[in-house]
Symmetry: none
Subunit: 424 residues, 2 copies
């Protein structure tokens, strides 16, 4: 079955903005056997929108549109669909009341504009939006299905999941089963080279496993997908494939179940009753922020310090100033002193120290931009490594926080760190 | 004039990959007055491609397609266009020879497949590709223009620049001039309601200013665009429009030049020779990380602490434990003690304290998830506010870091904070 995704909003037709909702939606629709044949971005213009919807209705079995359901005069998705399907509008009093109450809870009257969000093309079913004021809409036109969802990802995602589960999946024929294997500490080309024989073998099986390799922000992802009507055999095939990858890559694989590295590290700490404190220089708080992105992280994150100045390293962590003078602020001895300093002050199980040069300034021939020293300590065990990251300031920060999280993971698991290729 | 961008390639219809060529192309086309009204990603399927081209030809003055010009059997862009325009193919011997020589220089014979790249729909002009084997193609159909370019950005970009310079710009009537005005501390619907009379007036002028309103991560953006052949009058019109917005929204506007809030705050601190230290609880390091995302921020960011535990607040900031017991860790007195504590320890000009409940756990009837107290101090001036943010953990963190940065900005500017609507 053919799906068409429409991302609605003029801002995504500027040179600065991109639609990313379609990635999430594509993944979810693929899983239930929909083939996304075209995705388009359309601006907040009634004629353009109506033209796009009528065109997609000519060939797509399913149209999922995101955005343009807000309260303002340029939120025109409802109007475009009503025009194309020639449907009148009704005001839904239930929706209106929920919007009013939402504003009331925040101590404000509902602006008159928000009334637009309660306008429903006749015959459309409402899709509950637990995270915002705009409900989604579900419409049918002959055999065609149209789903309208709000644009903000945190509203769109759970709503699409609910639509898939309750309305689309029950009718789907054959599903796409997927698994994402995430690795860190290895270059994409190295992962690709070592995994290629498996990929070739998997592709030639009766139910082939399709593979995609993708490098993102300090990690490499292997996406495996198999399409079948038989869930049990799909899971068995994917489990076996993941096992083959684990045999090759060992502890470089940190996740096979969609969890990100901070969530994996958090679960590990929680499971073992460990606590953590981090001392950051070049990552500037990103490491602590990622650790605390995980719900419930207050159970194991005690504290963090961001010590940009040398004085802060001395005052807050007890790093001896002669150590900084002798080795430089970006050095393994200083990373070790930061990790042990924060651990002893916080009285946590684990201490982490990160010091480096995020750029664009501050580099030298000996220590160029991207040089980062990271230390993790637990009990009497200590790991310290110097990395050389490539990219701009924010990418250096991301990669350094990733390497620090992974160092903690390997240290807790008792694994060595020999897999690292970014080591200088 | 209306432009349609087509990005061609099935890999961009997976959940992992995105088209980014369109951002570059949009920027270049806007500069010469083309309005990108729709952009779409189409897979390597002849029917889908032909359908997309014929549809775009119905309404777009210019179609720029990237990708699908390679040598393999799934490179079908040429075929789709030839089918839609009903053009036969000719083999261009000059192109064939250049491809052959290119391979020869690399010491290899030309694979037979590459002959496809010398197939030219009759009447098409060739666009030189200095960086690769596939030439681009330029076709006209009545008043419509079709430009076909290869997909790799390093080939596409210089080729598009050449097309713009040599073929499109000489015929263009006017350019699109843009300005982005960013506000924080006001709800999108409130901004829209107050700005709407301006939008209506601007839209009805001889050279209308088009406006788009967009809410993202704790801020609202107004995009203004005017099309004209006269750069000076465009800048004057946009300056005047920005001035009108400033008269309405005052200090709620933090940027009119594409800078984000951390960059604006950083410039302000640097300009005035101020330094900053931050103490964070619920934002978990995100505030420090955003401040240090700005290149050169080590000039004014001294340090940060993330004190998740009460012990950390007491040890590292000297927050009296009886204050925490009396008012709770999430309270204005504790936020003030955190801000003054970090400032006195760091000996910086400014101290910031953020304490709140990011969720999903930890909320109560009195202090629900999303309650965040923020204090900023400078000299004898102090601002402390309690906010009630909506959304999940990460959104609460983002909004709280945004509110904290804005509080610092307003404090430094000596502005009051009465604009805030999220206040409880």
């Amino acid at each position: 079955m053919k799906a068409c995704l429409l991302a609605i909003g003029s801002e995504m037709l500027t040179p600065e903005r991109i639609d990313t909702n379609s990635l999430f939606a594509t993944g979810r629709l693929n899983e239930i056997g929909y083939d996304v044949r075209l995705k388009a971005v359309v601006g907040d213009d009634l004629d353009d929108l109506a033209r796009a919807f009528s065109w997609a209705l000519e060939w797509a079995d399913l149209i999922v549109a995101t955005g343009g359901l807000g309260p303002t005069s340029d939120d025109l998705t409802r109007d475009a669909v009503a025009r194309v399907l020639q449907l009148p509008f009704d005001v839904d009093e239930g929706v209106l009341e929920r919007i009013r109450q939402r504003f009331e809870r925040r101590g404000r009257p509902m602006p008159a504009n928000n009334r637009r969000q309660a306008m429903v093309p006749r015959g459309a079913a409402l899709l509950d939006n637990p995270g915002g004021t705009a409900p989604g809409l579900w419409l049918r036109s002959g055999t065609r299905i149209i789903v309208l969802l709000p644009g903000p990802p945190r509203e769109m995602r759970p709503m699409l999941d609910a639509v898939v589960r309750d309305r689309l999946a029950p009718d789907a024929d054959g599903r796409l089963f997927r698994r994402v294997v995430r690795l860190t500490g290895l270059a994409e080309s190295e992962v690709d080279g070592r995994a290629e024989p498996l990929f070739i073998r998997w592709a030639s099986r009766p139910s082939p496993i399709r593979t995609t390799i993708l490098a993102v922000k300090g990690q490499t992802e292997l996406h495996l997908a198999v399409r079948t009507g038989d869930a049990a055999s799909a899971h068995a095939a994917l489990d076996a494939a993941v096992g083959e990858l684990q045999a090759i890559f060992g502890a470089s694989i940190f996740s096979t179940d969609d969890r990100n590295l901070e969530t994996v590290v958090g679960a590990l700490l929680r499971e073992r009753g460990l606590t953590i404190a981090v001392a950051e220089s070049c990552t500037g708080g990103l490491l602590a922020s990622r650790l605390t992105d995980v719900p419930g992280s207050s159970a194991y994150v005690d504290r963090g310090v961001v010590c940009y100045s040398n004085a802060a390293k001395v005052d807050m962590l007890g790093v001896p100033s002669e150590l900084i003078e002798r080795h430089g602020a970006v050095s393994e001895p200083v990373a070790v002193a930061m990790a042990t300093g924060i651990r002893s002050r916080a009285r946590t199980s684990i201490g982490v120290g990160v010091t480096g040069i995020a750029g664009p300034g501050g580099g030298s021939a000996e220590k160029p931009v991207g040089t980062v020293c990271i230390c993790a300590v637990i009990g009497t065990a200590e790991r310290v490594r110097t990395f050389q990251f490539v990219g701009e300031r924010e990418m250096v920060k991301v990669q350094a926080s990733q390497a620090a999280l992974n160092l903690v993971r390997l240290l807790v698991l008792g694994e060595d760190v020999h897999e690292w290729t970014e080591r200088r």
